[in-house]
């Protein structure tokens, strides 16, 4: 990744860095000036036998220069800090916005922890590269040039030594850079393998205990760390050699300059003042170049982090919404002129929305296999369609498409005859209530979490929805009832979370209901109890319900059976049970009629024994 890329990605980086570089250079010039004064004072005192009174003026000036230099250094540090804060804020917020735009489908494929880490630590590492390493590059060019200009005016021989050794440094730098690169990578890999193993062991501690292997791990952890230590140390021994050579080069150059100055002083070829000045400046000549090495190491992580961040920013969102609104379409179809009435009829009365999947094929980005192939079915307004199939058959993909989280590769989804892609996505989603397999609850009280489903919902409405979804049952046992804080006061079980999700769906009262395995985490008794409220939630709604529990499916107007992304059967319960296909097999398993003993059989009522 080159520097241009950085400047393109991070707006206002150039002016910010220019300030840093200018201030830094000013501090460098003051450093040179300080050396000049120091050399003059020392020469006057040492060789010309001046006393304090005679050199008072240069001493005062020297103090002033030191003060200025300190201020310039401080300011440049501050400027670089400000640039880094700006980068953090700008880059982090654009990353966050972009992640939100990429949507749930993208996030599901990534590990959230890693994304959050990129947005937090990653961005903090990126700015080390931008605000420390990049200015240091400029610094490492400007200061040595300025120092050299003064040295050549002072002593040509020393200037030649500096000029000869200086180009060697970048050469070794590159060698070290390569070496450091591989050291860093090797060390990073070693550490991450070690870290990964350690995390794995801790996570699987119960499993280890169950198999009586947990004590043995102490020794294994020790041994693995030792093995990696030895291997890494072996490579470090070689890798550090290049740093050794660089260090040797710069200190020896200073030594050579000093010895040459001494010998030439001895023969009277140079005066002390100039020799002292050159000796003061020689280490300063090498220092900024050597500092690159230090900064380079610190910025290595930044480069890796930036690659990842830019990769995320380059990912295109799956879906771009349109501009049409649901109310407009319904108005044009029903002839209802009043906006409000159309909305009310939508939410309060029977849903006027119908859904049609027309020859839809779909594959998740990066996947070779189609998640859905040529899927066609209709959900008439106010009716329920159940989706049945094994996990991975493509049920959830249907929801992703219908909610506008992804776009079909082929075919179309139509809402009341209008392509879904023409609708404004947030407007469409406002008309859909969705219960997913894993509902996320946000920090806050249980009541707050329910209320989020509909803005402006009253507490009474929320409590009523909660009652219907049997949230009451466990909330009454909690220390603070509905104001119990989730995650802090109490950890909810999967079944309890699903009941809250159901309450949210009931509260939203949206005309379209998308329920993806809404009762999968519930035990039998709760599931049965929730059945009634599920009915309520589906009453008069246009609903798509996925389930692997047959009891939820039974009452749907239409059942669609999917297998490997294709619809294999479609029809009513009665049709499918008599068809003898996949559905019938599933039904038999859950029914147990065929496999359970005779005592059970008498409890299987008529309908199930078809």
């Amino acid at each position: 990744m080159n520097t241009k890329e950085w400047f393109r990605r991070i707006p206002n980086l150039i002016p910010g860095l220019t300030t840093v570089v200018v201030l830094n250079f000013a501090s460098g010039l003051l450093m040179i000036l300080q050396a000049v004064f120091l050399a003059k004072i020392v020469t006057d005192v040492f060789l010309n036998d001046r006393n304090r009174g005679d050199v008072m003026m240069p001493i005062a000036l020297l103090f002033f220069v030191i003060l200025l230099r300190a201020v310039a250094t401080g300011l440049s540090d501050k400027a670089s800090g400000d640039v880094s804060l700006r980068i953090r804020e700008d880059l982090r917020m654009s990353l966050v916005r972009h992640l939100f735009q990429l949507g749930p489908v993208y996030l599901r494929r990534e590990r959230t922890g890693e994304l959050v880490n990129s947005a937090m630590n990653g961005i903090e590492q990126v700015d080390v590269y931008a605000t420390k390493y990049l200015p240091q590059m400029a610094h490492a060019f400007l200061i040595p040039v300025a120092v050299w200009c003064l040295v050549i005016g002072t002593d040509i021989w020393s200037a030649i030594i500096l000029a000869v050794t200086a180009p060697l440094i970048p050469i070794f730098m590159i060698l070290i850079g390569k070496g450091a690169d591989s050291i860093a990578k090797r060390q990073w890999r070693a550490l991450s393998v070690l870290g990964g193993h350690f995390l794995d062991v801790i996570r699987g501690l119960t499993t280890l205990k169950v198999f009586n292997r947990s004590r043995a791990q102490v020794e294994i952890i020790e041994r693995i760390t030792d093995t990696y230590r030895e291997a890494t140390m072996q490579s470090l021994r070689v890798a550090f050699l290049s740093a050794l050579v660089l260090e040797l080069l710069t200190t020896l150059s200073t030594a050579v300059v000093a010895v040459m100055l001494g010998l030439r002083l001895l023969h009277g070829n140079i005066d002390f003042h100039r020799a002292f000045l050159v000796l003061l400046l020689a280490p300063e000549f090498y220092l900024p170049i050597r500092m690159i090495g230090t900064q380079f190491h610190a910025s290595m992580n930044g480069i890796e982090a930036a690659k990842r961040i830019f990769e995320i920013l380059d990912t295109q969102p799956l879906v771009q919404g349109g501009t049409r609104r649901i109310v407009e379409v319904i108005q044009s179809q029903t002839g209802e002129a009043d906006d409000h009435n159309a909305r009310v009829s939508c939410f309060e009365h029977e849903s006027p929305i119908s859904i049609e999947f027309d020859d839809v094929s779909f594959a998740y980005p990066g996947s070779e296999v189609n998640a859905l192939e040529h899927v066609s079915f209709c959900v008439p307004a106010g009716k329920t369609v159940a989706i049945v199939g094994a996990s991975g058959a493509g049920k959830s993909s249907l929801f992703d498409l219908l909610l506008g989280f992804a776009r079909p590769l082929q075919g179309q989804i139509r809402i009341n005859g209008v392509a879904l892609s023409e609708f404004e996505l947030s407007d469409w989603r406002a008309h859909v209530s969705y219960v997913s397999q894993t509902t996320h609850l946000f920090p806050g009280t249980i009541l707050e979490n329910i209320c989020r489903a509909r803005q402006g919902a009253s507490v009474a409405e929320a409590l009523e929805a909660a009652r219907l979804a049997l949230v009451d049952e466990f909330v009454c046992r909690l220390p603070h009832g509905y104001t119990t804080r989730i995650g802090e006061d109490v950890q909810l079980s999967g079944g309890q979370i699903q009941r809250i999700a159901m309450a949210r769906a009931i509260l939203k009262r949206a005309p379209v209901a998308c329920f993806d395995e809404p009762t999968s985490q519930l035990d039998m008794v709760s599931e049965q109890a929730l059945q009634a409220s599920l009915e309520t939630a589906l009453q008069g709604r246009t609903a798509l319900v996925a389930a692997h529990r047959m009891q939820t499916v039974r009452r749907a107007h239409q059942i669609v059976v999917v297998e490997s992304g294709r619809i294999v059967e479609q029809g009513t319960h009665a049709d499918l049970v008599s068809a003898g296909g996949t559905y019938q097999k599933l039904w038999a398993f859950y029914n147990d009629g065929a496999i359970f003993d005779t005592a059970a059989r008498e409890f299987v009522p008529e309908g199930a024994r078809v």
């Binding site: 006393n51 804060l85 350690f198 996570r203 470090l236």
Partner: protein, 613 residues
């Protein structure tokens, strides 16, 4: 302070290595001080045009020696200190693991409270302690050595100059960093809070993006995050101000020390108390000594972070160690208060006395388990989870434990494996009281499959061998075949050597459970213990798994814990739990033929549901 002492225990065993590393670091800086000092002396002496070059011979050799030795010392220091870092890391890891391994409740703590994030952070904290030497201890230690050395050297020429040098050295090395730390602490605290606030809100938003999107809350969340970020930037701005003031102060005091030395030295030279020829050398020594102070501000910062990490780890580990270990791990002794079982007491099978335990791997032949009126609670302050459960398991018998979530089913699992203990009643394992047996021995009697079994990120074979370290390839194949997973494993590119991915990500839920079943079967333990092994599997996969299960365990005694009522036709006895009590027990047929049995009602409910129109 206690945290500092606590941290030092990790380096104590390596104190000689540490001193060596610090010594080398000290010598590397000293070499530079020497280089500049002798160079200054060299040119000053040369400027006086001595009669012979021989007088310059010593400084010239000195310059060369220091020029070379610096790099060598630096190189050696790097090697020793990196080696030390790895040693410290190993020690911290082993300590941490040891701590949480020793208490079974610690495991629970990590599993339940510790979501993956908390765990990951704990592990990151543990890793961060590896910088203890390199970033925290070394800089002040080396600076101290260098400071003392330089003061002593300068004092040989001028006591006053040495005092001034010491003053400025302490100011730059201790006072300025301390003041910036102090000033920055408030801002730093606010920053850490705001940052973690932002981080958790972002994490929550990303995990709940589906809900946010559906609730139309995305824009509001972005606004809230942007506000938080603005606050964070504001807090950080104060931090950078303090930091840059510190940098300025550092530059100022370093150079002013040379200036002050000049001020002191000039009159001394005039008075011939100090020779003029020594002045350049002293000035260079002063300048070069400050190299030792340069890494101190970063080290103070690192110390702060390391102490915070140490505090968090200690807290977590302390939490763990306060809880009582579950099993005492003592030698098996027959409990005289609980009468030993006689053959007549157990109708279904003969009792064999437990052989004296020689090694952890010996097995009970045949297995017998008898729980009588067992009561369990996780904490004395909490109500009992199990409130009197009785269960008998004869050799080859299959017992299903059913009940709703929260009825105490998993507690039976935890208790049998010594992950928690019972305070009343008795659990006899082959004639011995369970809690008196060494926990390793107890665990060897069980092969367990848990809900959502954990697979380690190693090869399939290594995951299976966890159950039986020396298992041959044939044994692996047999176990996999019985668990009906052999075909799948053999179809993988590397067969049994295929890596399973992080937490078994390469496999589907059903496949993972079947690998776990194969692992349990490989163990060869007399009792198979299954805790909701089909949780989270869909109907088809569940059916396939159960089919594989019942055909695999033909001869074994099985305890099958589940809340699903499907697939129970193959068990001998069903135990129904309700609120921690065993309310019913009997064969499936018996339970179903009692008109008002809870089990029958539960099944009936399931069917009514299906047919309720």
């Amino acid at each position: 302070m206690t945290n500092v002492m606590w941290l030092l225990q990790f380096v104590r065993p390596y104190r000689w290595r540490l001193l060596l590393a610090a010594g080398l670091g000290f010598l590397a800086i000293l070499a530079n001080v020497g280089l500049m000092g002798t160079s200054g002396y060299l040119i000053a002496a040369a400027a006086l045009h001595p009669a012979t070059i021989l007088l310059l011979w010593t400084p010239i050799v000195g310059v060369r020696f220091f020029g070379i030795s610096r790099s060598v010392f630096r190189y050696l220091e790097r090697l020793v200190s990196h080696d030390l870092t790895f040693h410290i890391l190993a020690r911290v890891r082993v300590w941490f693991y040891d701590r949480i391994e020793q208490t079974s409740n610690g495991t629970r703590l990590l599993e339940h409270h510790g979501s993956a994030d908390v765990l990951t952070r704990a592990v990151t904290d543990v890793e961060s302690l590896q910088n203890l030497y390199l970033r925290v201890l070394a800089p002040p230690l080396i600076a101290l050595f260098v400071g003392v050395m330089s003061v002593l050297w300068i004092a040989r020429y001028s006591g006053m100059t040495a005092i001034w040098f010491a003053v400025f050295f302490v100011i730059t090395g201790a006072v300025v960093p301390w003041i910036s730390l102090h000033l920055g602490r408030q801002a730093g605290k606010a920053q850490v809070l705001l940052r973690s606030d932002f981080q958790s809100e972002l994490g929550d938003a990303l995990r709940g993006l589906t809900e946010l999107t559906m609730d139309g809350q995305v824009d509001a969340t972005i606004r809230s995050l942007a506000n938080k970020q603005t606050d964070l930037t504001q807090a950080a701005r104060r931090g950078t101000l303090i930091q840059s003031a510190g940098t300025g102060a550092f530059v100022f005091f370093t150079n002013v020390s040379v200036w002050a030395a000049l001020l002191v030295l000039i009159p001394l030279v005039s008075l011939h108390a100090v020779k003029g020829v020594e002045v350049p050398s002293l000035l260079f020594i002063i300048l070069a000594s400050f190299e030792a102070v340069m890494p101190i501000p970063a080290s103070v910062q690192a110390m702060n972070e390391t102490l915070a990490a140490a505090r968090r780890i200690k807290e977590l580990a302390g939490h763990v160690s306060e809880e009582i270990p579950a099993a005492n791990g003592g030698m098996p002794v027959t409990n005289t208060e609980v009468p030993a079982m006689s053959a007549s007491e157990l109708e279904q099978g003969p009792i064999h006395r437990l052989p004296l335990v020689q090694e952890g791997d010996s097995l009970i032949q045949p297995p017998v388990l008898w729980m009588r009126d067992v009561q369990v609670r996780y904490d004395d302050a909490l109500p009992d989870v199990l409130r009197g459960v009785t269960l008998r398991l004869a050799p080859g018998e299959r017992v299903a434990v059913v009940g709703e979530s929260g009825s105490g089913k998993s507690t039976i699992f935890n208790m049998l494996l010594g992950l928690c203990t019972y305070h009343k009643g008795s659990v006899m394992l082959g004639g011995y009281e369970l809690r008196d047996l060494p926990v390793e021995f107890v665990r060897n009697q069980f092969a367990a499959v848990t809900q959502d079994a954990f697979l380690f990120h190693v090869s399939v074979a290594d995951n299976l061998r966890l159950a039986k370290p020396g298992a041959s390839d044939d044994e692996l194949c047999d176990a996999a075949k019985t668990a009906q997973i052999l075909d799948l494993i053999e179809s993988l590119p590397d067969g049994f050597d295929t890596l399973v991915g992080e937490n078994g990500a390469r496999f589907s839920g059903g496949e993972r459970q079947r690998i776990a079943l194969a692992r349990a079967l490989l163990r060869g333990a007399p009792i198979l213990l299954l805790d909701e092994p089909t949780n989270g599997l869909d109907a088809v996969t569940e059916a396939e798994f159960l089919e594989a299960l019942w055909s695999a365990v033909a001869e074994k005694a099985v305890i099958y814990i589940t809340h699903r009522l499907a697939g129970l036709e193959s068990v001998d006895t069903i135990l129904v739990l309700q609120d921690g009590r065993a309310v019913e027990a009997g064969s499936p047929h018996q339970l179903l033929s009692q008109p008002d049995s809870l089990f029958r009602r539960m099944r009936q409910m399931a069917h009514e549901q299906i047919d309720n129109k």
